[in-house]
Structures are given as structure tokens and as C-alpha cells.
């Protein structure tokens, strides 16, 4: 116990002080892409109630778009998750079915308080669940059962079996429920009418001749089924046959049937027009011609029925009673930036209309339209696409104007002395001018700060110190690099089809770009979806713009778009048919631009942009490898840059491929630096690291054998450098690979706990690769491998390693925990060379932490203190200009950004540095020395007189 506390003292000195909360970090909370939206106008605050793809139920304020309450349920990433959550609500409560029909929960509508839950099943429901609410009971149809649950405490009231179905619908009917179900492509519809006590009043099978729809909608007592260009309506309570509704030509396709809240009404959208259906009269009224994007109904307090329609970012509202257009063709936003609308909800309408428009990329825009206005104003928007991130890169901001001016000055090679002198003078004048401007601005800002806060001296000093980096808080500043390069631009791709650039100082969106319809991520061999970003040129070159390439799938083809990351302008666009590998070539062509290489399945590759001949001549050999997903055959290739062909160099089979799942293939980022080439032993000898840049870590988990295999493979020679096998291992497995070590976490069946294992590769006590590292050169001696494993008392959702500029600081392993924290483990703790026992020499040398099986989990090491972040899917780290500081972005349902300093802030003054004290001491010393000098002079004079 004493030792444990001692260890905490050693490493746990990075906790945040209370006044640092929110200083370096920010959190953004999201809810995900909504699947069901309802408007709640009861109570003081109007709000939107939503169930989302991320299994979240939330209420958003209609005025601000902020989350009033949010209930995060099971993580969708963990297990099979086919059915979106659905809910039904009455005045006070809402009843949600989530986790693919596994769980029913009841929430209070006003504040989201949890009222009760019922586990419906431990498996996924075979059909999408349906839910209805009536009086004090909530009815769920899932797992071919209808279960009524009390709204007060979620106790089961009654349960009945229904016929086997693959679609179901339920709705309240005369103090009971009407339940409809059926099997697609089967001409039977089962109808049940159950009263509040669970007695089946009606139980019949309607057999229909042509009712085999793809989609079914229940609207009042009418069941609507449609496929291709046929629409049928069936009165479930009458005995009659289905009716065909004649709204659709043979040429048209039905896109969607929209259920209205008013019984007996629905809308149908086709490729050619939009119509409102009056089902009681079996009558359709065409509202508009041309393909619309979304349609929605709204009933005001007086019972007047309106229909809102969105067509290419233009809103139209019809009054169904008066049969006239209320709002005509109101445009909103910038259509070039926005994705097509997929859903519209009318928040309120009277003199002022409120709409919530949801785009294909899950952006929500809340619009307010005046009755006479020509254009709608966007009151708030939310980027829910950021819950499905395809990848993140952090980019340096461009050099500031003055930094660039200095660069230009030195790049001008003028022979004329006078001309360069004049140039010098002009640029210095320019710098002076800029400095004056900046100082005035900062003085003004300081005055503002002093006015706003009755702040202490240290606060003012801090604001002066931070003024350089917090310039983002004053909007309209150009994007430019700060002194320590802490401010970066984060380029984020969303699997919903958008690219975002976020400012890392506050997470605000700098620009966004919608990629187009049907955009999907590229599927990787280890089963992830990614929209990778490649940094072709950084902002280090003042006379060239930075450039990134983004690769994504659209309509079965792979698209690569080349952009300037600072403003989102597209530079080029390429489409390739098949892309097995996409990567950056390690050397630059013209204009400092790294080319993108796209390897196809036919052992050919293309390079964008193509490299000039002189670069090809001097290019070092480039290797890559491929894994055949059928038999696990790995093939190594060398690129022949002249003929654009792959030359096979080696083949290797991954062991037990058929019965294993590939966890990851993890190389090392080419920008990673290793500052220290060895580890110092207690006898002061050096164990040299085996830092092989071509090393790849491959992790395979046997499905039946539950054996975890980690293989370290040289991608150039195909040689297995090291392999480790662990029996009795279960998922989740996470692996990180860095410098000369690999850390992986797994669930140990034997110990029934999560463990983290580390192994490190060393060359031994003699260094072999001094100046250049070549994989072809055989190792003089066998690799020295050190390993250790540790108990981690929490689950692990994601793992990452901190990155610093030179790689000299300690590394930290960042672990996302399932309960919403991000934990920082210093590498000194997760170290394979921790001695079993401290010897006297070790104690004398210091700096050794004896091995202890547990990794202590201290709350000070939680990066996000009390800012819980849910369902973290990935952590991105990037170096800053300060060697001590690494920037961290954790993303998932929430987004959290902060800085980590694993070795402490050794290169910057601490936040609590006592400026007042040091200033007073300095001033006192200066005054004292002046005074003493005068005294001494006086005394000397007196002595001379005496």
C-alpha cells in the first residue's frame, strides 16, 4: 500500500487545477443522426425529441439547438445493430426501444429522468420493433411478441404472441392497441386488436392478393404498402380487400410514404411528384410536381392541417384546409454547401414558421421563416455527422504574414546591395507597422478583459500571455500559426459524406464540404470504415498552399479529391475503379508535393500527380504488401516506378487465417521520430532499440482457439522478426505500435480481466544500424525481446499513443474507458523493462519503478476530469511546436480535445508561475543595487574628506 502511494507520487503530477478547467480542452456533445423526431411544445421550452442512430434519446431546445437532456444508451459499435431505435410518447413520458429491440426504457419527457427499463431479449429482434403508447401503458412489438408495460415503473402488464413477421406496426386504438404484422413477399396480414387488459378483441388474418410490399406504413387504420410504382391501401379494421391508389404512373418510382399524425392522411413522394393521400376517401391530391426531398405535416392549435415540402433547399408550405400555399419557395442557407435534405420537421407555424431540416450528411438546420420573407434564416445548426468520423488529421496553420515576409526576404537572391538594403528597410517598416497594429489590438483586448472581469493581476498576465494563442476567440482573424504551433486545423472526414475543418482551439467549424450522395467509407481488411486523409504538402512552404487528398467510395467507385485544407477548395479530383491500397509516396515531386499512389487489384498502380523523370531516377526503392483475404497469403511487392508495375518480392502465409479474425495491421507513421536510440540499464550500459521503420504489427485472434497471435513482420523482406502467442484471449483487442515497442490490450479468459501486454525489441548492447537502416542487412545477433503484461482494471474502448515533435519526451498511452473517461498511462508504467525487484544499485541510480502487476488507475490521470465522453471510437494525437506537448482529440459520440504533457511542461512556464513575486523580487533587487551604489559613493567621498 505504501509502495502504491509512493508510485502515485512519482507519476501522478499532471492533474489539472480547478482554474485550468476548460483552458486547454473542450468537449462537444452530439446526439447522432436522428431517425425519429417529434416536436414537444408542452411546457415553457419548446423542444425537439429525437431518437438517433447512435442509440441516443435526446431533447434539443428549439431556440438554441442545445441539448436539454440526452440519454446515451448501448454502444452501437459493439454488437450487431440493425434496427434504429424508436420511441412513442404521451404527455409526460416517452417509451423507447433501443439496441435493436433488446431494451425498453421509459423516460420522463420534461427532464429525461429515467423511470424504468425492461430487458426484452438478449438477442436482436428479427424484425424492426414497433412501439405505441396509450393511457398509462406502452406497447412494444419485438421478437414476435407484443408486450405491454406500465409507464410508471416499466413492469410488464401483459404479453401476447403474434404471428411470425418480418415487419410489424402498432398504434393505439380505442383504449387498446392495434397490432399489424406480416411477412414480406407473403400475401398475409395479421391484425390483432388488444384492449388495455390484454384481451384480444379481434384476431384475424387478412389475405391479400397483391400485398407483397417492400415498405409498409401504418396510418390510422390504413396500412400502406408500396413497391416500385404501386401503392396499395388496406383498411385493417374492415374486411375489404386492398385498394390500389392511382397516383403513380408506371414510369415513376415511389420513394417514400410519409405517415401523418392526422389519422387517415399520408403523403407519398415519387420521382415525379408529391401527393397527399386522403385514405378514407381513397383520394390523392398532387401538391407539387418534380422530385421533392422531404415532406412533413403540421397541425396548428386550431386544427388546421399544413404540409411542408422541401425541394432543392427551397421550402413550400401548403394549407390543406384552404388549399393554398402559405409559404412559397422560400430558400435558405447556401445550397452549394449543404447536402440534400432527407427529413423536414415543422417546429411551429403561425406568423413565423419554424423548420428543422436534416441533410443527408446529418446536418441539422433550424430555420425560421417570416410569412412574407423571401429567405429563411438559419437560427442554429448542428453537425451530427461528426459522430461518425472516418479519420482525422491535424495540420499546422500557415505561416503568419510576418513570418512569410521574413521567408520571402531571405529567398530573394539579389546581387545588388542597395536593392536588398531597400528591401530590408521596407520589410522592417512593414514589420514595425504590423507590430504597432498588433500591440494596439492586444491593448484593446486587454482593456476589454479588464473591464469584463474584475480579475487579479495573474489573470491579466495570463490573458496577455495567451493573447497569441487565443486569437481564435476574436473571429475574423486569418488562420495563422502561433508561437508554439499549438493552434492547428483539424481536418475531419465524416462517414456521412462530409469533410470538416475544425479549429482546435474551440472546435468550431472553419469550413465544411459535402462530398455528394451515396458516399461511403472504404472498408479496410480489418473491418473498419474509413475515409482516409493524406497530407500531401504541409503548410511549411510559404509559397505553396497546403494540399490534402481524401479518398472515399461513391457508387462503387473510389474517388480521390485533392483539396487545400485551409479553405476547402478542391484542387483536383480523380476517380479510380478499384483501389487496394492508397498511400503517400515517401518522396516529393515538384513543388514539395507528395504524390498519391493508388494500387489496383491487377498489380498496376497509378500516381497522382505523376512524378517527373529526375525524381524517378533518384527515387529509393519503395515496398508494399498485400494480404489476400481468402487465404491469408501475404505478398510483398517492390514498386517499379517507371513501368508502373508491382514486382513480387516475397510471399508469406498468415497462420490459421481461416479460423481467425484480423484485428489489425499496424505500421508506424512515417513522421514518427525516435529521439533516444537505446535504453540505459542499471549498470549504465545501453540496450539499443531495434527501430525498424518497415516493421508492421499484425494481430490475429482465433475464433475457436481463442488464441491471440501478434506478428512483427518486416514489410521489405517479409521476415517475421518476432511473434507472440497468447492463449485464452477474447475481444476486444486493441493494439498500438510505436518506435520499437507494441502494446496490446485483450480480455484474458484465464484471469477474467482486461490485460495490457507490452513487448519491446532491442538490438542488444551493440548498435548495428548506425547511419542508415536497411531491412536487407541481416541482423548480427538475435533480437533481444523484453515483455511484460499488466492488469488493467477497466475495459478499453480505444488506445492511442501521444506524439511529440522530436520524440524525446516520454510517451503516454491514452486509453478510452467505457464509462466515458480518457485515461493517460505513462510509458514508464507500461514498460517491459520494469525490474522485478529494486536492487541497491537501482535505488541509487533512481528512476526505476519496480514491476507491479496492476496499472494504478488514479483519477488525476483522467484527461477529461468530469467531462464524460461517450462511445469513443478513436483517439488522434499530433505533435505541437513544444516538445513537451502533444495534442489529443478523442472522438466518438462526443468529441474531446486536450493537450497532454507526459514528461511535464519542461519547456514552458507553469500555469501557476508566480509572476508577481518574481517581478517584485527583480524590482527590489534593481532598486537595491541603485541605492547601494549611491550609498557606496557617498561613503567613499566622506572617507576621502576625513
Amino acid at each position: 500500500m505504501v509502495l502504491y502511494h509512493f508510485l502515485l507520487l512519482l507519476v501522478g503530477a499532471h492533474a489539472l487545477f480547478e482554474d485550468q478547467v476548460g483552458k486547454f480542452d473542450w468537449r462537444k456533445q452530439f446526439i447522432g443522426c436522428p431517425t425519429q423526431i417529434e416536436v414537444d411544445r408542452r411546457g415553457k421550452l419548446d423542444r425537439y425529441l429525437m431518437a438517433t442512430e447512435e442509440n441516443v434519446v435526446a431533447a434539443l431546445s428549439m431556440n438554441t439547438g442545445e441539448i436539454v437532456w440526452r440519454k446515451v444508451q448501448e454502444d452501437t459499435a459493439n454488437q450487431g445493430h440493425r434496427h434504429a431505435p424508436t420511441f412513442a410518447g404521451n404527455k409526460n413520458a416517452i417509451c423507447t426501444v433501443s439496441d435493436s429491440g433488446r431494451m425498453l426504457r421509459i423516460w420522463s419527457k420534461r427532464d429525461g429522468a429515467f423511470l424504468g427499463q425492461l430487458l426484452l431479449s438478449s438477442v436482436e429482434s428479427p424484425h424492426p420493433p414497433a412501439v405505441a403508447i396509450e393511457n398509462e401503458a406502452c406497447l412494444v412489438v419485438a421478437h414476435n411478441r407484443a408486450i405491454a408495460v406500465s409507464l410508471k415503473d416499466a413492469t410488464k402488464l401483459w404479453e401476447i404472441e403474434i404471428n411470425k413477421s418480418n415487419w410489424v406496426a402498432a398504434r393505439p386504438h380505442r383504449d387498446g392497441f392495434a397490432i399489424v404484422g406480416g411477412i414480406q413477399e407473403n400475401s398475409e396480414v395479421h391484425v390483432k386488436w388488444v384492449d388495455a387488459q390484454g384481451n384480444q378483441n379481434l384476431n384475424r388474418i387478412l389475405s391479400v392478393n397483391s400485398f407483397n410490399p417492400k415498405r409498409v406504413t401504418l396510418s390510422g387504420r390504413h396500412l400502406l404498402g408500396h413497391w416500385d410504382s404501386t401503392l396499395y391501401s388496406l383498411d385493417i379494421l374492415a374486411n375489404g380487400p386492398e385498394m390500389k391508389i392511382e397516383v403513380v404512373d408506371k414510369k415513376e418510382q415511389i420513394l417514400e410514404v410519409v405517415q401523418f399524425a392526422t389519422e387517415g392522411y399520408a403523403a407519398v413522394r415519387t420521382t415525379e411528384h408529391t401527393a397527399v393521400l386522403n385514405l378514407a376517401k381513397n383520394f390523392a391530391e398532387v401538391l407539387s410536381t418534380g422530385k421533392s426531398d422531404a415532406v412533413s405535416e403540421f397541425v396548428n392549435k386550431d386544427g388546421v392541417q399544413y404540409v411542408a415540402l422541401v425541394q432543392n433547399h427551397v421550402l413550400t408550405v401548403f394549407d390543406l384546409n384552404e388549399r393554398k400555399e402559405i409559404l412559397k419557395q422560400v430558400a435558405y442557407g447556401d445550397p452549394t454547401l449543404l447536402a440534400p435534405v432527407k427529413k423536414v420537421v415543422v417546429g411551429g407555424g403561425d406568423k413565423e414558421w419554424e423548420f428543422l431540416v436534416i441533410g443527408e450528411d446529418c446536418r441539422m438546420d433550424h430555420l425560421v421563416v417570416d410569412l412574407n420573407a423571401k429567405k429563411g434564416t438559419t437560427e442554429w445548426s448542428r453537425e451530427e455527422g461528426l459522430t461518425k468520423i472516418g479519420s482525422v488529421e491535424m495540420l499546422d496553420l500557415p505561416l503568419s504574414e510576418s513570418q512569410a515576409a521574413i521567408e520571402t526576404e531571405f529567398s530573394v537572391d539579389e546581387k545588388n546591395v542597395l536593392a536588398s538594403f531597400i528591401h530590408r528597410l521596407i520589410s522592417q517598416l512593414d514589420q514595425f507597422k504590423r507590430w504597432i497594429g498588433k500591440s494596439f489590438e492586444s491593448i484593446f483586448n486587454l482593456a476589454l478583459v479588464m473591464q469584463v472581469q474584475s480579475s487579479s493581476f495573474s489573470d491579466i498576465l495570463n490573458s496577455v500571455r495567451n493573447s497569441a494563442k487565443s486569437s481564435s476567440s476574436f473571429r475574423g482573424y486569418p488562420l495563422e500559426r502561433d508561437v508554439f504551433n499549438l493552434r492547428k486545423l483539424m481536418v475531419v472526414t465524416s462517414l456521412k459524406g462530409s469533410i470538416f475543418a475544425l479549429d482546435n482551439s474551440d472546435g468550431s467549424v472553419v469550413w465544411r464540404k459535402y462530398l455528394g450522395a451515396n458516399v461511403d467509407g472504404l472498408t479496410t481488411l480489418d473491418g473498419h470504415h474509413k475515409i482516409p486523409i493524406f497530407i500531401q504538402r504541409t503548410t511549411a512552404f510559404y509559397n505553396f498552399d497546403a494540399q490534402v487528398a481524401v479518398a472515399y467510395k461513391q457508387n462503387a467507385a473510389t474517388h480521390i479529391t485533392f483539396l487545400n485544407p485551409m479553405n476547402g477548395k478542391e484542387v483536383d479530383h480523380q476517380v479510380v475503379n478499384d483501389a487496394r491500397r492508397i498511400d503517400l509516396l515517401p518522396f516529393v515531386g515538384d513543388n514539395h508535393l507528395h504524390s498519391i499512389i493508388v494500387v489496383g487489384a491487377n498489380k498496376k498502380f497509378t500516381v497522382f500527380p505523376s512524378l517527373p523523370a529526375n525524381v524517378l531516377e533518384t527515387a529509393p526503392p519503395v515496398h508494399l504488401f498485400d494480404v489476400d483475404q481468402k487465404n491469408g497469403k501475404m505478398t510483398g511487392f517492390r514498386l517499379d516506378l517507371k513501368t508502373h508495375e508491382l514486382k513480387e518480392t516475397w510471399t508469406e502465409f498468415l497462420p490459421q487465417w481461416q479460423e481467425s479474425t484480423l484485428i489489425t495491421i499496424s505500421g508506424k507513421p512515417s513522421t514518427q521520430r525516435t529521439h533516444s536510440q537505446g535504453r540505459v540499464m542499471v549498470d549504465r550500459s545501453v540496450l539499443y532499440k531495434y527501430v525498424n521503420p518497415n516493421l508492421v504489427a499484425i494481430a490475429l485472434l482465433g475464433k475457436e482457439s481463442s488464441q491471440l497471435t501478434v506478428i512483427m513482420l518486416d514489410a521489405v523482406t517479409g521476415q517475421t522478426v518476432h511473434s507472440a502467442r497468447l492463449p485464452k484471449v477474447k475481444e476486444p483487442v486493441h493494439l498500438v505500435h510505436c518506435e520499437n515497442w507494441v502494446a496490446y490490450s485483450y480480455w484474458s479468459e484465464k484471469g477474467r480481466r482486461t490485460e495490457i501486454a507490452v513487448f519491446e525489441l532491442f538490438q542488444g548492447i551493440e548498435q548495428q544500424h548506425l547511419e542508415t537502416f536497411s531491412s536487407d542487412e541481416p541482423l548480427k545477433q538475435a533480437l533481444h525481446v523484453e515483455q511484460a503484461s499488466f492488469i488493467f482494471s477497466q475495459g478499453i474502448q480505444s488506445m492511442a499513443i501521444s506524439e511529440t515533435e522530436q520524440g524525446a519526451s516520454n510517451r503516454a498511452i491514452l486509453v478510452a474507458l467505457p464509462f466515458g473517461n480518457i485515461f493517460e498511462v505513462n510509458r514508464r508504467i507500461l514498460d517491459a523493462l520494469r525490474p522485478m525487484e529494486l536492487t541497491a544499485e537501482m535505488r541509487e541510480e533512481g528512476g526505476f519503478i519496480p514491476y507491479m502487476p496492476e496499472i494504478p488507475i488514479a483519477t488525476e490521470e483522467m484527461l477529461n476530469y468530469n467531462q464524460t465522453v461517450h462511445h469513443i471510437q478513436g483517439i488522434k494525437t499530433a505533435p505541437s511546436g513544444l516538445e513537451s506537448t502533444s495534442l489529443v482529440l478523442a472522438y466518438g459520440l462526443d468529441m474531446f480535445y486536450t493537450r497532454v504533457t507526459p514528461s511535464g511542461t519542461f519547456d514552458i512556464l507553469k500555469d501557476d508561475f508566480d509572476h508577481v513575486f518574481i517581478t517584485i523580487v527583480l524590482a527590489a533587487l534593481i532598486l537595491g543595487s541603485i541605492f547601494a551604489r549611491r550609498m557606496a559613493r557617498n561613503k567613499a567621498l566622506q572617507q576621502q574628506w576625513a
Binding site: 515496398h623 537505446g678 550500459s685 508492421v696 537502416f773 541510480e845
Partner: protein, 176 residues
């Protein structure tokens, strides 16, 4: 010749300085009268004894540093191996003092330089060697404190990162 070639009689000097203005430029304690009062106290019989004493004294000076070695060793032992201000100061002094004295060997032996004592070269060599001994002791102490950069580990941070001979695109994903 005696070690004391002159004698200071402050009484006579000051007296004469006060009385005779013309003599005031003589340094205090010096007076022509005092010089005149100088007595040759040597006796022919004591001359041998004097020479013997001189030689002994020269040897004492030459052996001084070597003699101080055991004491220094003990001091260094007592100082301990911990790296804190006092041991560091002691070691630094121990290193600095003999180095300084080594550069002033001639001035140390100057008073002993005489025709009668003969050549002092052997003494000087011994003196320097003794000082070297002290320096060596100090260096050993620094070494035992771990302050000497004589291990590979001390130069580890200066080893540059190896350049890449061949490149592999190993960090990218394989897409299916």
C-alpha cells in the same frame, strides 16, 4: 645566510619617517638606519645545520600533496556518493586546488631556491606527482559519483536517428 635577511624595526622606521621628511618616500618599516642595524647573526658553526634544515623543508614541501592524500581519501569517503551541493563543492575544490598549485610550482619553491639546496627538480617532480595523485583521487570520486561521461549511455542522446535505406508503405490500410 639566514632565512631572515632583514629585520623590521617599526619604531625606528616610523620615528625616522616622522623626523625626516626627505625620507618619507621609503616604504613603512624600511629605513636606511634599520638596514644599517641589520646584523649578520650567522655563525660559521650553524651553517651546516641551516643547510640541513633547508633541504628538509624542501622535501616537506615536495611531499606535502602526497601526504595529504590519505586525509583527502577519508574526506571523500565521508562526503558520500550522493549528488548534492556539499560533496560537489568538496570534489570541485579538491580538483581545483592541486591544478592551481601545479601551475605555480616554481613560485612555491622560490623561497627554497638556493645554491646550497642544489637542484630542486626532483622535488618539483614529486610535488607535481603528488598533486596528480590528488587530481586522480578527485576524478575517481567524480567517476564514482557517476558524473563522468565515460559510459555509452552518457552519449546515447547524441546518436542520430538512422536514415531509411528503403521505404515501405506499411502504415496504410488495405481496402477490400
Amino acid at each position: 645566510m639566514s632565512l631572515a635577511t632583514w629585520r623590521l624595526d617599526a619604531g625606528t622606521a616610523s620615528r625616522s619617517a616622522r623626523t625626516a621628511d626627505s625620507q618619507s618616500y621609503f616604504p613603512p618599516g624600511f629605513s636606511p638606519i634599520g638596514q644599517a642595524m641589520q646584523q649578520n647573526v650567522e655563525a660559521e658553526a650553524a651553517a651546516d645545520q641551516q643547510e640541513h634544515l633547508m633541504r628538509k623543508r624542501a622535501w616537506d614541501v615536495a611531499m606535502g600533496p602526497a601526504k595529504s592524500l590519505p586525509m583527502n581519501m577519508f574526506m571523500m569517503y565521508m562526503a558520500g556518493r550522493s549528488i548534492s551541493i556539499f560533496p560537489i563543492m568538496m570534489v570541485a575544490m579538491m580538483l581545483w586546488r592541486p591544478l592551481k598549485t601545479m601551475f605555480s610550482v616554481n613560485s612555491t619553491f622560490k623561497p627554497l631556491q638556493d645554491d646550497k639546496t642544489g637542484s630542486l627538480i626532483l622535488h618539483k617532480i614529486l610535488f607535481v606527482l603528488g598533486n596528480f595523485g590528488v587530481v586522480a583521487l578527485a576524478i575517481y570520486k567524480v567517476h564514482s559519483m557517476g558524473l563522468l561521461p565515460n559510459y555509452d549511455s552518457d552519449w546515447l542522446e547524441f546518436i542520430p536517428e538512422a536514415q531509411r535505406g528503403s521505404f515501405s508503405l506499411s502504415n496504410g490500410d488495405i481496402f477490400i
